[in-house]
């Protein structure tokens, strides 16, 4: 428990016992981020590529007048890329700098409420060789979900 408390300080503000996650798909696997960090879920608007930007950057788009940088979450996490389908969505999240960044995912599934007991923190996972972007593993009934750390993902 002490461990979990320490981690909540590092990035997961939690309510008593349970927390809501948005579950989505990247290259066929389930991933999730804390729901409170998501501002909006969009169908991808036209995106203008930005020459010379980092490979993970797809480009910029306008969301009701707000200029948003869109990153490919698959490329950011180095998972296999498949062509985007019409199920693809952009998650708008606010970076710590205050900038609103869009993350392209293959598909958005649902919101899952996970109890503390269903979460296994990264530090207690075997091997310890886990990406800095992973907070832990969620195990809602019958599923395995990789819980992502938005703070490291959207900090450039």
């Amino acid at each position: 428990m002490a461990e979990i408390v320490a981690h909540s300080a590092a990035g997961m503000a939690r309510r008593r016992g349970t927390r809501d996650f948005l579950v989505f798909i990247l290259a066929g696997d389930l991933y999730a981020v804390g729901l409170t960090r998501i501002r909006e879920i969009l169908s991808p608007p036209p995106i203008t590529p930005v020459p010379r930007a980092k490979p993970a950057v797809i480009g910029v788009c306008s969301v009701r007048g707000l200029l948003v940088t869109v990153m490919d979450l698959r490329r950011r996490l180095h998972v296999e890329e498949q062509p985007l389908t019409r199920r693809a969505r952009i998650l708008l999240v606010e970076a710590q700098s205050g900038e609103v960044v869009g993350l392209m995912v293959d598909e958005v599934r649902h919101v899952a409420r996970l109890a503390d007991s269903e979460i296994e923190m990264a530090t207690s996972l075997l091997g310890g060789d886990v990406s800095e972007h992973v907070i832990g593993i969620g195990r809602p009934v019958g599923d395995v979900v990789v819980l992502l750390n938005l703070s490291t993902i959207v900090s450039a």
């Binding site: 020459p51 950057v57 910029v60 788009c61 940088t69 450039a156």
Partner: protein, 703 residues
Amino acid sequence: MTDPTDKAREEFFSEAQEIIETLSKNLLALDASLREEFSDPGLVNEAFRAVHTLKGLAGLFGAASMGMLSHRLEDVLDALRLGRIELTPSILDVLFQAVEVYGKVLAAEKDPDEDAAPLVEAMLAEFDRIGAGATRDQSPTAEYDLDPGLLAVLTEYEEHRLRTNIENKMRLYRLRVQFDLATIDKALEEMKERAKRHGEIITYLPTGETASVDSIELDLLLASQDDLAMLIGALGADNVVIEEINRRNATVMPGTIKPAPMLRSRATSLPGKDEELQPLRMGDDTGLEASGSLKSLTQTVRVDIHKLDHLMNIVGELAIVRGALASISERLREEGERQLGAELQRLHRSFDRRLSEMQDGILEVRMVPLGQVFDRLARVVRQISRELSKEIRLVITGADTEIDKLIVEELSDPLMHMIRNAIDHGIESIQQRQEVGKPAAGTIALNAFQKGNHVMIEIEDDGRGIDEQALIERAIKSRKIASSDAKELSREEVLNLIFLPGLSTREEAGDLSGRGVGMDIVKTNISKLGGVIDVHSEAGIGTKMTITLPITLAIVSALLIRVGGQVFAVPLSSVSEALAFDASGVHVVDGREVMTLRGATLPLCRLDRLLRVQDPAAAGMRRFVVVASMGTRRLGLIVDHLYGQQDIVIKPLGRSLADVRGFAGATDLGDQHVGLVLDVGALIEEVLTGSELSRERKMYADG
């Protein structure tokens, strides 16, 4: 932001900021009145009131260090008001310093990473120092029969040294020395060397009384433990008169300052007193009783500029709705619904009109008077002129000219730089000015006015002007131009050499006797705002720099182009022309493609290659050259297509794209698409800098 306490804090910050600005204006007015030899107690009262209000505010918001600072500053001002401390330039320095510290404290309140505590500590110690003088009723320097004019111009450090020496029971001497103008540099150094063996030279100043045109008289203030006879033996000469400065028992009259003859002669030589910098009196002279109220006196609302940006974005979206309305009404009429179509058409027109009114309204709200930045400059002028011992008269006109808030913020550094240059390099020393028959006080005029959709700012000095010959020599020496080309430069081109990067560094600036210190940076910063600088200079008469800026950054005119299948916007302010590209006219010089445009060589850049956005479909098609210019540098950008001109709203790219060079931002092109805006300055820099050197080196080898 929506949290009420956050909102209240925001209010607190802007209110405090405003009061601090008022305080600063007050101090400037005090400074002016000090020089004018009349002391206006109302000004001290106003300053006191401002600080008192700040103290109250700080208390309300639990801003402890600001409260402490205000509390102690209030004491100092109270002492000044009651005449317990005498108002001197060095006291004013401390007060100005307090304004700076307030700024830091506010920043620290906003950003927990900032720590203003040491500054506040230092400031409080400074107050103690002044206050200590007050409790003894007079400073130790007052016990000496020192020329108050001299005291008035001591720098803080000098004053500190004077105090320390007095406290160490040193005796004070005045050495009045005649120097030959031709050899003063050397002679003064020798004099200082010799005097150093006997004590410390605290300061030296010209007396303003000269026996002949080619000599100058200086007063040296020397602290020494030797007695008079010994000093006369050691330093005495035909041209040196040594007097001991006696202690006196009389108390100093507080509250008034009697300038020394030297100072007065300078003051009276100021011409045209009416146009003197006088804008700084604040409000009316309401009594001190009114001071306790924290109620805001003005009927204004302070707004975060990003909220205005947001409103502007909404206007942009409404414009898209407007477009949709127009097409629906069109369709209705085509489908025979004439009446409905006409009604919608009317609605559309009225919507259109209101929308552009709204856009104008929002733009207007973003406007602030240039006076904001000018006031800050007045403070800088005061500081620099004291550092350099020059008398400067700052004349400001058009401080009420309005310009976009964001531009004002970005203007203050370049303007400060230019003013510093004008004082440092433009205005001659007092002696030099007198020799050529100019008034001792140099004049710097800061004029602002609106001209169509632009705001012009002129910075004019009556100094020595730019030495064009020296400029050319310097440019040749630092290999910016070939000596063979130098003769062919027009005057304008010669003057524009000051904007070349690296033309002169700080060390070199002295012998250049002109400008050039970081002017390339000034130019770049102004260019970033979509502005340009022009220089005019007459040897011996002065220099005038004119900055032309767009009124707002919110909307700029841009040329839309296509390259590599993608649409980009190029701000028109940096486009000089566009023409059809003729591949047969391209030559390769030193591995760089160039073409000849009206007799001049124009370096070319294939934008698709530079940005790596090649479009195979465009191969073999007719292309265009957009001639982009930034200062004196030009670059022909080869593009696939020209779409024409459009007014665009530039939005900065997000922080996650901060490392991407070459784009000034992005803009909505309508139809949901976003276009990137090229940063022409950065592109020119990138393309030309690397190769320019090698090319010029070759020119040298050839010539």
